[in-house]
């Protein structure tokens, strides 16, 4: 038998190796932090610069404004107008509309596919379904956007007789395609990680496959499914290219999901390239970026919270 030898030299190597690896881990953290600081720094003038505040103080971005005398107050996003208008409400509503449609489309499909794949599908079929759905995540979003712009939009308009060819529904469904793999993967993993003992116990008590999956596995995996939904929502809010191409980008305040929408992320993508550095428009776009950052950060935090709950539950430490 060969003896393992630890010479002092290899200890030094080990030490260096360990430090190198830890640097990698910290690097990601530091980069995130630096991006966070950079984005926020550029948005700060919203709260401090009096010239910028004249056009884009936080209250002006939230509430209806009367931009011209004698005309009614309204929300309006017209940043390059002679009277620049920076209401964030149309963009907020647009972002929400697209994300809601995406979730309505993706959650039933994603969770349903997860239940089928983990509980009902024969093992061999499962090995095809899972990677196939996860492949959806590998499709570049610009391709999904292009598909929605050229094919899906025409199809929806012809079938539903829509006034606006590019609208929240169209963008939302395309977004949903990007969200499905997230919901599916996390939900499926949660369900397959439900301990064998739970299933066996249910089966021993006479439950059939349906009863086992709906009354035992699904409730046990709820935190995992919730995490999938929450993280999927985060993706739907932050995704840029699909909505930029498929939503029509009109900043409208309305209740209809069949109107065009303009989202936060698409607005940044479309406008940041040519704004005056340090100007009001620039600052407002960075403010929007900060909002998105905080929002997705909170969403991911919530998702992680659910995942930790799931782990605890599976290990029987739930209270």
């Amino acid at each position: 038998m060969r003896q393992l030898k630890f010479k002092p030299k290899s200890r030094i190597r080990e030490f260096v190796g360990e430090k190198l690896i830890s640097v990698n881990a910290y690097a990601a953290l530091i980069v995130t932090l630096l991006i966070f600081i950079f984005v926020f720094k550029e948005a700060i003038p919203i709260f401090t610069d009096s010239i910028i505040q004249e056009e884009a103080a936080p209250d002006k971005m939230v509430f209806k404004q009367q931009f011209y005398e004698g005309r009614e107050a309204k929300w309006s996003w017209q940043p390059t107008s002679d009277v620049p208008k920076y209401s964030l409400m149309p963009l907020f509503i647009g972002t929400l509309k697209a994300a809601i449609i995406a979730m309505l489309f993706a959650v039933p499909l994603g969770v349903g596919a997860a239940i089928y794949s983990s509980e009902f599908a024969p093992k061999r079929l499962r090995e095809i379904i899972k990677p196939a759905i996860e492949m959806l995540a590998a499709i570049p979003s610009v391709v999904l956007g292009f598909f929605a712009l050229m094919i899906l939009a025409t199809f929806l308009q012809n079938v539903l007789g829509l006034t606006f060819r590019l609208n929240a529904l169209n963008a939302g469904i395309a977004l949903g395609l990007a969200v499905i793999p997230i919901v599916f993967t996390i939900a499926e993993d949660a369900m397959t990680s439900v301990p064998r003992a739970l299933r066996d116990a249910a089966t021993a008590l006479g439950a059939n496959t349906w009863q086992v999956s709906l009354t035992t596995v699904l409730p046990a995996a709820i935190p995992g499914i919730a995490a999938g939904i929450v993280l999927g929502f985060g993706r739907a809010v932050g995704e840029t290219m699909i909505v930029l191409m498929a939503s029509g980008n009109a900043a409208i305040v309305s209740a209809s999901f069949l109107d065009s929408v303009r989202t936060f992320s698409a607005t940044i993508a479309a406008e940041l390239a040519e704004v005056v550095f340090g100007g009001t428009h620039y600052t407002v776009l960075f403010f929007i970026g900060s909002l998105l950052f905080v929002f997705t950060f909170l969403i991911n935090l919530t998702g992680d919270f659910f995942l930790v709950r799931l782990k605890e539950k599976m290990q029987g430490r739930t209270t």
Partner: protein, 283 residues
């Protein structure tokens, strides 16, 4: 060994630049940058001792560069503002403006749309949201679907200034990246209307445009933009500091020559009418 090679390469490059003699920088309008590059390529082929560097950034950027003395030629799709002329005077810069090409903005309609011509007043009504149904302007009883460009585009700004009298676009205007996307959207939308450069229309039809009710409606084409009868058109300028001399003068006169203007037409710009091009040359 590698260091020596690198140094050798850099020296050669440096020598190349030094020996080339004249370096001309052109900066400004994103509308014009493609033409500027085309001209520069051709000119450098003919004059091996001249190096021309062309970059975009927008008319404002180009004008700022001219005022700072960091560019020889400024390309602009608009005239300088009064503020900028004053600033130039303060800095001792004498802007010399020359039209080098023309640009027309067409209004696109779906091929099946019965509407064939639109007045400025109607266009303004349509794009500000005052007119929302095709019925109001002689079409079918359906809603007008507006397509336009993103708010950082020069075409967006020009159309807004010229046709909308600087009023805001309707919030229902769907904004798309690039004229090609607008044309594509209108070609797929029976009730759509869009605007963009005149060389782009494939699968859509042009609306003839009249400036007022008393004038004739003119269809956009290279000819009508070139002779100035089509109302939504603009001059594209080169600005120099003072009347150009030497190599700059040679370059300008070449760009305005038949050969230069032919290149403009090939790159989808509208060439200047011959007399205007001749008149713009510096003797």
């Amino acid at each position: 060994m590698r260091t020596i090679l690198t140094i050798a390469v850099m020296l050669t490059l440096l020598a190349g630049i030094l020996l080339a003699g004249t370096t001309i920088t052109i900066k400004g309008s994103d509308t014009l940058v493609r033409l500027g590059q085309r001209w520069a390529e051709e000119y450098m082929k003919k004059n091996k001792d001249v190096v021309i560097q062309v970059s975009g950034g927008g008319s404002g950027t180009g004008i700022a560069a001219l005022l700072n003395g960091s560019t020889d030629i400024c390309e602009a799709s608009r005239d300088m503002k009064e503020k900028e002329y004053k600033l130039a005077e303060k800095k001792g810069i004498k802007p010399y403006r020359v039209s080098v090409a023309l640009d027309g903005i067409a209004v696109f309609l779906h091929k099946a749309n019965p509407v064939t011509e639109l007045s400025f007043a109607q266009l303004k009504g349509i794009y500000t949201g005052a007119i929302t149904n095709w019925k109001e302007i002689g079409g079918k009883d359906t809603r007008i679907i507006l397509y336009g460009r993103e708010n950082n585009s020069g075409t967006y700004a020009f159309f807004k200034k010229k046709v909308l009298n600087k009023e805001d676009y309707s919030e229902y205007t769907q904004t798309l990246p690039g004229t090609a996307a607008v044309v594509n959207a209108v070609s797929k939308d029976k009730h759509g209307i869009g605007y963009g450069g005149i060389a782009w229309a494939k699968g859509v039809k042009y609306a003839a445009v009249r400036k007022s009710d008393s004038t004739a409606a003119i269809s956009p084409s290279v000819e009508t933009v070139s002779d100035g009868t089509y109302p939504i058109s603009r001059d594209l300028y080169w600005f120099f500091n003072g009347v150009p001399t030497g190599e700059l003068k040679k370059l300008l006169n070449w760009a305005l020559s038949e050969e230069g203007q032919k290149l403009a037409a090939e790159s989808d710009y509208v060439p200047l009418p011959k007399e205007r091009a001749l008149a713009n040359m510096v003797p």
